[in-house]
Amino acid sequence: SSAKRARAMSTDSPMKEAFTKYADYLNNLNDKRERVVKASRDITMNSKKVIFQVHRISKYNRDEVLEKAEKDLAAVRDQFISRLINELRGSDFWKLRRAYSPGVQEYVEAATFFRFCKTGTLLNLDEINATLLPLNDPSLEPLKINVLDYILGLADLTGELMRLAIGRISDGELEFAEKICRFVRDIYRELTLIVPHMDDSSDMKTKMDTMLQSVMKIENACFSIHVRGSEYMPLLGSSEPSSFLLGVSDIEL
């Protein structure tokens, strides 16, 4: 019918032509977002495994454990973060941030956790970004993890350090626990001054609360070991509670 033809003809209008472009744009964007989400999930899952691996540390297996963790962490970078980097060219880096942020945060958590256990120091953002450099196409501006994701990952790190501290105390590594305590307190204090300046500080605020809880859990554990140690000192005539406790645990179990 002529009506049908009239309809059909209007399909070739500039409007339809433009909308074909918009449709392509949206399809590509959504496909890419989906790929980024998947890469992020992979990063999360494998970073979590690295964190568990680091938690297996003890006085007796330190080197082997950290060696494996380091290898696994490198694998996360080579296999999954590199995939992310390839997707996040140009403006997509910020546009798709919500799609990859959980994975990157978890990677930061894992990488900083590993580093602290290895050297007792904080892995800087610049250092992390340096390790990502080889994954980038050298001809392009290299992709760098943004400050926000780094800080959010750091906030989660304190939870893992708390778990580590509690476990280390049981193994008699009191000095290590105290070191963790100081480290976590420092991070907490530094972040106190950073939080109000974050792009979106609302989720960071709940992370700060959790972080304070973690700090206090470590402090309470240190308190507990300290008062016990202080009670024993007169009993033993020793002046260093931690060395004493360490001694016992080594000999008896």
Partner: protein, 228 residues
Amino acid sequence: TSLDKQFEEFRTQLEESGSLRERIRGVAMEIESSTRLMQASLLLVHQSGPVPVEVLEKAKAQIDVLKDQYCRLAEVLHECPGQYYRYHGDWRSETQSVASLLAFMHWLETGNLLLHTEAEEKLGLNNLDFGLDIEDYLVGICFMSNEMPRYVVNRVTAGDYDCPRKVLKFLTDLHASFRMLNLRNDFLRKKFDGMKYDLRRVEEVYYDVKIRGLATNGESTGDQGVQA
């Protein structure tokens, strides 16, 4: 310590981006102010009686103001290359309103849909660095569609019986075009769902007019309400 140093640097960086955001918010508020003025002018197209040409002219006068404002926004963002989408939320809803108003005025003048590239051109955004986000543009178009039923009702009340036919044709085509898109369950999807109701309402008005023999037989005159 190196710890202090890094966090000191972060604080500096974040404060900088905070002040950047402050400036962006400043421009965005100006843009909002301009759209309010445009909107106030355009409200008169709903009023009974023929719409004087001046109404549209007055609204169009704001476009240059907007152009200038977007130019300044682009300059601010030029300072942080690649971070357009980091701050996007700060001017997003304002820009959707802008797109909506530009498209409405364009339709009043030409009877055609303002395309994305045309919208960018009107705002002076055709360079690569700083463009009009396509989703913002599409949301703006939906906003424009939302205004159509009210416009049609008021034009008919004012005695302009040819308006419903034109709007119906325009909205029918627009709706068909939108159906080409695959949307996620997001804001744009919700707005697009609303377009169906606009279309239906305009159709009803068209029938109201038609059935009472009030509609002119159309087609011949391509002009719009304003110019009539």
